[in-house]
Amino acid sequence: MALQVYTASLLKEGLVAYLSLKDGVPSWTADIREATADTADRLDSLKAAAESAEQDNIVVAPYVIDVLETENGWKAATKREQIRAEGPSFALPQDSSTAHRSDESRRAA
């Protein structure tokens, strides 16, 4: 049975986030490798935590995605979700005079 993780968009930032559940404590991380994965028949606690985060206005529209286990950790199974996890598949235009928002802004909620 495929392993799955919960993902959503952070309400405030709009950025992609993945649900981590450690010792029953939920948090949202930008790094899919830090997400908590489980099989579809054992997702109850993850589902409850995701729905709770949506009700608490931390995330928008949580859903499950299939992930693959690699030597570097979880990797999304579909191209769409891989791009969503990793960002656009090319270098973004660079503005020399701007201190861009870094990936650090994708902080956990």
């Binding site: 968009s9 309400l11 405030k12 930032e13 709009g14 950025l15 992609v16 949506e54 608490d56 206005n57 928008v60 529209a61 579909t78 191209k79 769409r80 791009i83 969503r84 960002g87 656009p88 598949s89 090319f90 973004l92 235009p93 660079q94 503005d95 020399s96 005079s97 701007t98 861009h100 928002r101």
Partner: protein, 550 residues
């Protein structure tokens, strides 16, 4: 350009404050996402694949230098230092945070800009010819009529919840640079039987999963009747357009299913009821709006310049750029300059904040302080003196905005595709880059001449692939991105929908396939002046199909 009235300013500020309250209520949990979604969409705010996306309206593609600087400021302060010019002449920011959006709208309002009606089932930003007011083939400047449509359609209470989104384009020239045939309504200014100007009215054009060329439902409409006639069309659509099926809700489907003749009768019947109402355009009202678009005080200049001619003869690089990216101007001694947003170094239509600021400075320095955006995702400086072209070229080159490719093979229209868009099924930007990298040789580009390549990352066709000479549609087939080719499309006055040539190609095959198509053209054209489209229309699909699939 149009200047806001006190009432316009007030309306905009009230709207920003209203949205600020909605955002605060959403963040505090007083509004659910379902409740908030309709509010944010009405203010151009989408939630895309990676982040929020804000679409800002650029009315009929016209920007002042000050507005461009504000767009740069927004990109720098609230986003990742760049913006993306879209095929509907708007700009999109890909990374704003929700709590910042009211402040962004505030900054926009300060320069008479907004994001109202850039999303949702309402009348969207009216688009037009980027050469409006300066084109040599112009019958009449379309911008005053675009502005009248903007004022009529903004917050129009009756048309705020249409069956589906609604797009209008207006052209005032013989050549169509606004793709009027693929809009819900397309208006073309034409000369009437008595020598007076009026409109040809096309209805039911569009792309997406059911591409259609607009039907000419009125060959001549007096200009004073423009708004009453548009109102009649919208009323028929609003009453009869389908609301039960998202994919059959556009007016093109209504026109198709009703039949062109019957639809025309319905519009004319409705029009008779309302043509003498307050929307009838009085001469003084039109003249007042025309006053905002008067010709600037052009200098009296000869249509030659010694230094320009010298540069053409002595500087091949300049000559290439001048050949491709400069257009004649109605005023002697002036030229229109296309700023290519299609270099090999950035995605099509993307511009950094630095580039935006620099373009604003160049507009002030060389082009009367105005910039236009084009539906092919480029920029235009519309009023450049011939004598200033060499200096302008040097500055554009330093900014990577002088790629000599306007309307040529590497001037690719591309939607954001799967790299940004929540609806996309395949990537388009990497394919456009691969094509550019393969064919980015001036001699080859020049030899190919006038040819268009457009790419869409899904069937919604935001990359206008249906109306490209060579169209590419990315789709997902069993988890893999594959690319379907269409040939023979055109978005110009000879508009046509391209036809699918055969089975789709894998991502690593599509650039070779494009190369094959271009080679068939080069081998079969009757003379160098015969364009790709003319050759295709003469030969049909067979030689292309034979080369691609053997």
């Amino acid at each position: 350009m149009y200047q806001y009235s006190e009432q316009d300013h007030q309306l905009l500020l009230e709207r920003v404050e209203q949205f600020r309250g909605q955002v605060q209520r959403r963040l505090s949990g007083q509004l659910s996402e379902d409740e908030f979604k309709q509010q944010r969409l009405r203010n151009g705010l989408y939630l895309q694949l990676h982040a929020y996306m804000l679409r800002v309206a650029i009315p009929y593609g016209l920007l002042s230098a000050e507005q461009m600087r504000t767009l740069a400021h927004i990109a720098r302060k609230y986003d990742k230092g760049y913006g993306h010019f879209s095929t509907r002449q708007n700009i999109q920011y890909n990374w704003p945070q929700l709590e910042d959006v009211p402040d962004i709208l505030d900054d926009l309002a300060a320069v008479e800009m907004h994001a109202i009606q850039t999303s949702g089932n309402c009348i969207r930003n009216t688009t037009s010819d980027p050469l409006a007011g300066v084109a040599r083939d112009e019958i009449e400047d379309p911008r005053p009529y675009c502005e009248l449509i903007r004022q009529w359609s903004t917050f129009h209470p009756e048309f705020n919840f249409l069956p589906r989104k609604f797009k209008i384009a207006v052209s005032g020239a013989i050549g169509d640079r606004a793709a009027v045939a693929v809009h819900d309504i397309g208006l073309r200014l034409v000369e009437g039987p008595e020598g007076e100007n009026g409109f040809e009215i096309y209805v039911g054009g569009g792309l997406g999963r059911t591409p259609m060329i607009g039907k000419l439902i009125r060959p001549f409409l007096p200009k004073e009747d423009m708004l009453t006639y548009l109102e009649a069309i919208l009323r028929v659509y609003n009453q009869l357009g389908r609301r039960d099926n998202l994919y059959k809700a556009r007016i093109k489907i209504l026109v198709h299913e009703t039949g062109e003749e019957k639809f025309r009768e319905l519009v004319e019947e409705e029009w008779q009821k309302i043509k003498a109402t307050g929307l009838y355009l009085r001469e003084q009202d039109v003249e007042r709006i025309k006053g905002f678009f008067k010709d600037p005080d052009y200098e009296t200049l000869p249509d030659t310049d010694a230094e320009f001619e010298n540069q053409l003869l002595s500087n091949p690089e300049f000559a290439r750029w001048a050949d491709k990216n400069i257009e004649l101007h109605k005023q002697s001694g002036y030229r229109v300059v296309y700023l290519s947003l299609k270099s090999a170094n950035q995605p099509p239509g993307d511009v950094t904040a630095d580039q935006m600021d620099a373009v604003a400075d160049l507009a002030d320095k060389y082009s009367l302080g105005q910039i236009r955006t084009t539906h092919r995702q480029n920029l235009v400086l519309s009023d450049v003196k011939l004598q200033d072209l060499p200096a302008l070229w040097q500055e554009l080159k330093a900014l990577d905005l002088a790629t000599p490719n306007y309307n040529h093979v590497t001037d690719i229209i591309s939607c954001p595709g799967l790299d940004y868009c929540a609806l996309a099924t395949a990537r388009s930007i990497p394919i456009s880059k691969a094509i550019t990298d393969r064919f980015d040789d001036y001699d080859f580009v020049n030899d190919l001449g006038d040819v268009s390549i457009n790419i869409s990352g899904c069937i919604n066709a935001c990359g206008h692939h249906h109306v490209a000479n060579i169209g590419i549609l990315g789709v997902n087939k069993k988890g893999e991105e594959v690319y379907q080719l269409t040939l023979g499309g055109s978005a110009r006055e000879d508009a046509s929908i391209g036809k699918i040539i055969g089975p789709a190609f894998d991502a690593d095959q599509i650039v070779d396939a494009i190369g094959d198509v271009l080679n068939v053209y080069l081998e079969n054209r009757e003379e160098p002046e015969e364009t790709f489209l003319a050759t295709y229309r003469r030969l049909g699909q067979d030689p292309f199909k034979e080369r691609l699939y053997g």
